[in-house]
Symmetry: C2
């Protein structure tokens, strides 16, 4: 087990009907920017619930934060906060809105060009001068409601970049599982797979003797396999919705990565597919992940075998189980409605590998992954296998 530091001060309020607690969670006398996305909160009643709970607060609204939120969009909110002296931000949305609000929070008082936050991957530590924020989660998937990371897209350069730090934890997050009732099936499918791959990134590396961490990771995978296919058909079932939502939060609230190596190469490659073709984030992960396991089979096969045995109850030799575990993963992704080839998700893809390899080269990235053995040659192989 590796040494680790665990610190997560988010106050998580989980359950039905909890949105009304908002008024007790935001500091009195705050001037609040309510940030949201494309307007689904108007249809599903969450906007009304939030507005009712915020009676008595001075509220400014900022809508239109897109999926894979753009730096360019978020800077508009930064200007509003600076001009109107807003002192609290409430993100009402999924991972994109919450990630966007983290960027807004960090950028308002940032000394220098806010673009540097992304390009230089600035770390915002406790005590940094940021605007405090809370969240009302409307789409379980990313865990952003209980972590301190953020991924932002830059429209001008078609890039996705991440940043974070302990000042980027929400002060609170309200997770009401009933909000998923009105979500489109596609978004529910994406949420399940996003959370599932988050766990795999932190689990499917090499044996590291973090026995408890492994078992907790497997717990989340098993729960997502159990509830995932059902919840997309029955999003009003509270048992399914609550286990789905809680699994998504636990998949990326920092806990399971403590003391163990992690990979994240599937995400790094997947981000490029979103930037290039606007493929849904989760779907890029479902495309890349299995091919990454195939190409890096030799160095991942011990964990693949453990995963196959414990999560899919596979039997056979270690090598057989490890290979079958990849196929079982693909089968699960297909069950969840994923199409696991780039060509099933986008057109004119023949230069994808060249493009991504070139871009990584330009950034000076020579290798990725928990062993830093995913070289640019292997990157090309993974992407080409994914066509």
């Amino acid at each position: 087990m590796l040494n680790f530091e665990l610190y997560n001060p988010v106050k998580l309020i989980f359950g039905k009907g909890e949105i009304e607690k908002l008024s007790t969670l935001i500091p009195k006398e705050s001037k609040v920017l309510v940030a949201y996305g494309g307007g689904s909160i108007f249809k599903n009643g969450i906007y009304d619930q939030v507005k009712t709970a915020l009676q008595g607060f001075d509220v400014v609204e900022f809508g239109g934060i897109e999926a894979n939120p753009y730096y360019e969009t978020l800077m508009k909110a930064v200007d509003i906060i600076r001009e109107q002296k807003i002192d609290f931000i409430l993100a009402v949305g999924g991972g994109s809105v919450i990630d966007g609000v983290k960027f807004i929070s960090a950028a308002v008082h940032f000394q220098g060009n806010p673009m540097d936050i992304l390009h230089q991957r600035i770390l915002f530590k406790e005590g940094a001068d940021v605007v405090p924020f809370g969240t009302v989660l409307t789409l379980p998937a990313t865990g952003s409601e209980m972590n301190s990371g953020s991924v932002i897209s830059i429209k001008a350069t078609q890039e996705k970049r991440d940043f974070g730090g302990s000042a980027m934890f929400p002060k609170f997050s309200i997770c009401d599982p009933t909000v998923i009732a009105s979500l489109p099936k596609r978004q529910l499918q994406n949420g399940v797979i996003d959370a599932y791959v988050h766990v795999l990134e932190q689990y499917l590396t090499y044996p590291h003797k973090g026995y408890l961490q492994d078992r907790i990771a497997e717990s989340i995978l098993q729960t997502l396999i159990e509830v995932g296919p059902q919840v997309v058909e029955n999003p009003t079932d509270y048992t399914l919705a609550s286990n789905f939502m809680w699994s998504c939060t636990m998949a990326l609230n920092g806990l399971i990565q403590k003391g163990v190596p992690s990979d994240w190469a599937t995400h790094m490659i997947g981000h490029e597919l979103t930037a290039l073709y606007n493929i849904d984030h989760a779907r890029t992960l479902a495309i890349i992940g299995p091919n990454l396991f195939r190409v890096l089979f030799e160095t991942k096969k011990e964990k693949l075998a453990q995963y196959g045995k414990r999560v899919f109850q596979l039997t056979g030799t270690e090598e057989e189980i490890a290979r079958q575990a990849i196929e079982a993963t693909v089968a699960f992704y297909h069950t969840m409605g994923m199409k696991t080839k780039i060509s099933e998700n986008a057109a004119n893809i023949e230069n994808t590998a060249d493009f991504i390899v070139n871009r990584f080269e330009k950034r000076g990235w020579k290798a990725l992954g928990e062993r830093q053995n995913l070289t640019l040659d292997k990157l090309r192989e993974i992407v080409e296998l994914s066509y």
Copy 2:
């Protein structure tokens, strides 16, 4: 799944060699009370490590906090803090020292009789006027290093009482698994069982559709079964020590109880055996727990069957598996060196049931447990079965 609120701001620093970080964790210019127990920290080198790390701080020492710490002892530390204007407390010890420091922290500025903190079970919420404290864990078992609860004994009345609240979270806890190398086997055995029963109290209730919570609880049980028998023989093995220590913290840092019912009757009854006969806390749990499952079999059998299948891989009818799960638990306790009858741990025990029933009656406690169906009749039956 029940609604829940999760908030745990403890900064947990986990791993070898981390004690030296103390100087960066305690606020500069603090006057620090270093509180410890019977002096084992002088033998195992931890005292020296702590003193070295605290160079430059104004330090006052308070030793002699006993196992099952006494109110009477702790009040001496309260006086010292008041007299010497100390503004930070560092607990160096196991659950008893840490629980004791929580009481000291709460009592210093408490308006009124500090005994009321225990008798009236005062809740110390965020913002309460308490003395901030951190911990260096020397004995994994209770999870006190990452929770906000405390159990204190009262010498005058032979009672054990608990209190807590979100102001009672340590500011930080340093958990270095190498500290267990010098612990007596008996304390290691107790630590494993203490953590194991902590999980059972939060898990072995009734089916509640918290699928993920159940699986995480089972993860901790499985890890303790895997490492427990080995770690007591090989406490210098870092893999065993680190998984043991992390399991103990995770067993009672609040996470697995979120959204599910919990029991705690085994603890309530066990506390009385410690108060009466000074039986080690963990050993009282090993005595009472299995008999509680036997007496409340009808209302616990569904979870017992799930536990038997998933943790012990038992097969048979649901009823058979549930019964065998109790026996498998007792067998595990025996493997861990527990003696599971009161008479194997103390003499002159014939009035135990009368005494405990009378005491619970006097407190007005009519029933315990997750269904409040552990009545005084059943309490008597459990205690008598334990003779």
